[in-house]
Symmetry: C2
Subunit: 421 residues, 2 copies
């Protein structure tokens, strides 16, 4: 992303057949990348290789040809298919050498006499000559820093996330902070919006996006929302803040009413936070979303004080029994109707004595639609002590579960506007 900015460049390597077979999702790379940006390092590439000597050697050579810092995880285990140490020794043309201090640390950690350590432990004490040991207090495989005469730095860590996180936080981050922040300050901010297409936001912020911009703006869609990211680089904190302030104001303005958070968070988490902070209570009656809204709200700790009750009421019986919908309403207008949405919201609110009652009733499909009431039609009901409203939506052409998710987010957004008002 940021060649043009002159930041030091980092590259992340992940090593292991299980990654290439798709059996494991690599969370190490993103974890480290998030923490490298504020250190003044720009991550240019990730590479993932299998447990294959030639492929690992080639990956390190390519990374060293274009990055100042190379951080690799995986392939440090005790078995024969763990090849990373040997590959790095090859890349730099140095032998592997036994490091007694590593065995000492293992023995201490495992609370075992050193001469009881197995051959595979001893394999893990063979490091490229000249490497600095990064003590692993979270597992057996030691980490390594290897620094070249040209001032490039290679870090090797175990692939187990807990061990990687431990070594990365204890040894890698402090080293990089000392070597790479050099004066430059990097600020990162996020805004999140619902209900405005990413393309429209992109058009509005076009002139702040893409390589070479400072502030640099990027967008992505996640959890039903559009998240806008602003990165600012400057020589000093005040200078960085002076650049960030107008950029943030412009982004916030571009998101209009859709803006629901000045953090990188989902709509459900933002709404749950608002409920908790404002001490508002809610009760939810769900037909087609069937518990999804309650479950999304429940991701946030402390929500039990705000989410007083939820009802999953697919059947007309349950709508009548639990939410007090009148059978005449169902007869006259059907379960998927403005009137049913209103009575569901009123009924669940009254039942739980909540500040707000929220309801969703719709047709998720694939069956059950008609010409007048197609698959994709849904109503959101919102009731307070004094007011009741219902909103109609039609989302065509969505898979059942995408539809359910969109309907849930649409309802959460209306709830947000209600409690924010």
């Amino acid at each position: 992303m940021s060649e043009s900015r002159g930041a030091a460049r980092a590259e992340i390597l992940s090593i292991g057949d299980e990654l290439l077979l798709g059996e494991i999702v690599d969370t190490n790379g993103p974890y480290m990348a998030q923490r490298l940006v504020p250190l003044g390092l720009s991550v240019g590439h990730y590479q993932t290789s299998g447990d294959d000597m030639d492929a690992i050697v080639a990956a390190f050579k390519l990374a060293l040809s274009r990055a100042d810092v190379v951080i690799a995880t995986g392939g440090l285990g005790p078995t024969d298919d763990d090849l990373t140490m040997e590959a790095v020794a090859k890349v730099f043309g140095v032998p592997l050498e036994h490091r007694e201090e590593v065995l000492d640390q293992m023995a201490a950690r495992l609370k075992r006499p050193k001469d009881h350590l197995t051959g595979s432990n001893r394999k893990q004490a063979m490091l490229p000559a000249g490497a600095h040991v990064l003590r692993n207090d979270w597992g057996t495989a030691p980490g390594v820093r290897y620094s070249t005469p040209e001032g490039k730095h290679v870090f090797l860590m175990a692939g187990v996330p807990r061990e990687m996180k431990g070594i990365f936080g204890a040894w890698v981050v402090p080293f990089l902070r000392e070597h790479y922040t050099r004066g430059e300050t990097i600020l990162l901010r996020h805004f999140a919006a619902f209900g405005i297409p990413e393309s429209r936001i992109g058009e509005r912020l076009k002139d702040m996006m893409g390589p070479g911009h400072n502030p640099d703006v990027g967008t992505r869609v996640s959890g039903g929302a559009c998240v806008v990211r602003i990165v600012v680089r400057a020589k000093s904190q005040p200078e960085a803040e002076a650049l960030m302030q107008p950029a943030a104001a412009r982004v916030a303005a571009a998101l209009e009413e859709g803006l629901f958070s000045d953090r990188d968070e989902t709509l459900a988490i933002a709404v749950a936070r608002m409920l908790i902070e404002k001490k508002k209570t809610v009760a939810v009656a769900e037909s087609c979303t069937a518990g999804l809204i309650a479950s999304l709200l429940a991701e946030t700790p402390g929500i039990s004080a705000s989410l007083l009750e939820g009802a999953v009421v697919y059947s007309n019986d349950a709508k009548v029994r639990t939410c007090g919908v009148r059978p005449e309403t169902l007869d006259a207008h059907g379960a998927v109707s403005e009137e049913a949405a209103r009575e569901l919201a009123q009924g669940i609110r009254a039942r739980a004595n909540a500040d707000v009652g929220l309801s969703v009733t719709g047709i998720a499909g694939p069956d059950g639609g008609s010409e007048q009431k197609p698959v994709g039609l849904f109503y959101v009901g919102l009731a307070t002590k004094d007011t009741t409203a219902a909103h109609k939506f039609v989302f065509h052409g969505l898979d059942r579960n995408i539809f359910r998710e969109r309907a849930a987010h649409q309802a959460l957004d209306l709830l947000r506007r209600q409690i924010g008002a």
Copy 2:
């Protein structure tokens, strides 16, 4: 990994600054890799690049130098930092050209007149000359196949997982199956189990796993379950079936009671299918899982006939009001207790007049635990017309939402055993 089979080689590219910034974990690569192996393709590398023209071009060139099939996701969006189409045109030295059929498809999908489409929609209709369009029924950005005179194939898809999955399944997999399974018959079967650790399954099936085996067995954990995959290669269909049969029997035996499906499906989908097929009805009372069980069941079309009612009952009030739990029970034993779980299950079953009542009550944390009732404790209640049971579990050290998911799956598994019996 599987160079030894002489299999065709695939390489996966993921494109987007949000990946390099660590804001998104790349699940597309693993998703596709899992599905490429049974097509006879061996994945040699993943590469991840940012939204940078030079980096994307270099990544494609490197991939094309060592793979037969290159599959890229991301960078097809409507904004200026979406560069993949242009990069691929550069790599192959062809211009981008406007494709009217893409606009037609967008207009049809968005149910909008074609002349109402925005400039950014029009950008998405610019494809490398000579590319084959892969229709996107799940979003606006079309996919692309570009095939070279040397018989290499490049696929480009949107990075949004839902869109990638749609295009990959509809167009990419069938194409690759036709081109790479050549004469060879490849059979693929899956079994899914709950409650047996992957490591134990691995030990039992060790001698069928890893490169060179035929049948070749692999395991992965997904949706709370362990999915075992069997791949068989043979010259003919009968030969392949003769190899598959004993392998399938052995895998099924290794999974014991935990076996819940002979498909690659989640536990929730398998349980929903069982409920629908057996015409059993269920009602669910959820405290800590808060709608998650109902929502997971609701992923399956037709579940409305079986899932008669769900109640999200965090508060004691709601437990008493909606599920008929006796206040004395809550006073004497607390809301997280065997007794409360039993009364919740009985109460919701009776309320909905369902065949089975299912309940979960527990402490998801991070707060609310005590020495006697720690975070991670939960009870699952199961009631029928004649019987009531409660099961106690403690899952230590899990994040709140991982815990909620595990508890929901544990409850679904007990429901499966109940309706299967």
